[in-house]
Symmetry: C2
Subunit: 340 residues, 2 copies
Amino acid sequence: MKLKDLAAELGLSQTTVSRALNGFPEVNEATRQRVSEAARRLGYRANVSARRLATGRSGAIGVTLPLQRSLHFGPHTSEFLSGISERMAQHDIDIVVTPIDADDEVPVFRRLVASKRVDALVLSAPTPNDERIAALTELGMPFLMHGRADNVKIPHAWLDIDNEGAFRRATSHLLDLGHTRIAMINGPEDQTFAIHRLRGFRSAIEARGLTPDPQLIGGGRFTDENGFRLAQAFLERRPRPTAFLAGSMMTALGVFRAIRLAGLELGKDVSMIAHDDVFPYLNADNMVPSMSTTRSSIRAAGARIAELLLQMQDGKPPESIHELWPVELVLRESTGPAPR
Amino acid sequence: MKLKDLAAELGLSQTTVSRALNGFPEVNEATRQRVSEAARRLGYRANVSARRLATGRSGAIGVTLPLQRSLHFGPHTSEFLSGISERMAQHDIDIVVTPIDADDEVPVFRRLVASKRVDALVLSAPTPNDERIAALTELGMPFLMHGRADNVKIPHAWLDIDNEGAFRRATSHLLDLGHTRIAMINGPEDQTFAIHRLRGFRSAIEARGLTPDPQLIGGGRFTDENGFRLAQAFLERRPRPTAFLAGSMMTALGVFRAIRLAGLELGKDVSMIAHDDVFPYLNADNMVPSMSTTRSSIRAAGARIAELLLQMQDGKPPESIHELWPVELVLRESTGPAPR
DNA sequence: TTTGGTTTTCAAATCGCTTTGAATGCAGCA
DNA sequence: TGCTGCATTCAAAGCGATTTGAAAACCAAA
């Protein structure tokens, strides 16, 4: 069932049918009714390839998935993707996932652009001098960055959470509780979000006239293994840290284990605040003790990014899109006064 | 830069250029060289929409993501997707993610088919009488099922792991160690994989002339919360279970906590074997104690499914594609002899 | 009954590729 | 020289939509 058939069926021209279905004003209302009724009845759906060719828009947005980067396709990505696709599905826009090696990013972009496969891209996990921004700008491919690339002057759209503020507040809170030896288990150190978090951590400590101990700062991938190793190493130092900040729930699980293995009690001997991206299957509230977190739903960010991309397609200038989301600090049982 | 331009640049017809680039045999080798060199130099890439329209193939495969089903878009899905897309990227085939509500599956399928958006679909999380198989078969949309739908007679392609065998072996092993009160924390009970696991569990117990205790069997979503709740309830029973089977690493984390909270030691007072889909960020080997698992990489399954879909596109009949993967049983520290 | 101005509809061009069926060039052979 | 056969190349016709520019239909006013 193609447009031609439908038009013949109705005794109308393709033009009119096309316009009726796409909501053009110059179609008689009675005709429009008749057309859309027939389309529904006969199960007509425009062939997307044909439409895309004719309109020049692909009707799809690409989500790049860093494969070799320090930040892998992990649970964050899946929540994020889920947020995006839920929103886009309502607009009949496809989400095309594009795995991408850090090595040959630019060639892949070039191909994406040349083949007109997607109308826009969502980038994730920026580094401070992210080269992708210049590359895509030059290629004329609209994109939205999830996160921020600090040192890039080229105007572009981004949405980020206030990582610096979140970790500053979390650290401040620990300081308020009397903790002075606070360990930081950060994300991959080349990523801006990790840099921002470290900055927040540092500034909170320095605001009290203290100096962060570089020996208590670690980073790396968000795996429980990494959290465990770092925490264990930190706990061996004397005097030992009395509080931890963890960059993700995954590393937090590892820290959890290390604390227990050292015979310490979380929330009493040692405190911890972890960043929570809000995974439906790993709930900070249900842990024992429940986990204090800096919380920001990555799924919600995905949904909002989808929304913003739609606005960009409707002409909203990318340089006007800068969203910095506040992050909640949720205090639960894993934080308590510093032991003395 | 389109085909026409490239052809003009070379002083050749579009036909020849197209054929040269697509590897047709009737093109002079020298010409082919010249064409592909020029294409590379000028950065020519065929417009996918145009190609798709001309060939009638969309060059994309759809991966449906169950949204409202008992099995959500979770960490499994993201690993799986990653496996598929890695493989497909080499073939210039797009992965389109299609979130889908259990309610209106068939209409969505109908739309997908009518709009020729994807050439094939990957389905996940089948139930025993999965209606999607009949729907897609009727619509003529090729698909590959990840998992099996027990009671559906319609021939179709599937790839599954031997859930029943895995849990039979795991249970047998626990019985060998002297455990008789074994608790089962299964996945969502309407899913075939969970049904198969339960069957394996039961048959291993019955093979020893014992009877599984229905009070020690639970199911539900793969969240740590669910694992925790079920394990805690089971541990309150007297005599208490001495061993646990967990359907995923997420539930295993919850069970872990419940065991600890009950003041018991894993690997000594209580044993546990969990199913491990092999997440890069949550390693059974690194847990303390390390976790015995039934292991099968869901990412590898994704990659293989991509491979099989490619073969289907080359004409391999779907009904000839049935792969049942064996599952490893990896023994680590979380399993030990039953306390006496 | 014209006329001028809206609505409403239409035929044909277009998007950029693939593919069909025909044409061309060239070598070998009588 | 003329003919056959093979290897190459080409012009033109799709693919199924959108969109342009023109025509038809309608209506109210002159």
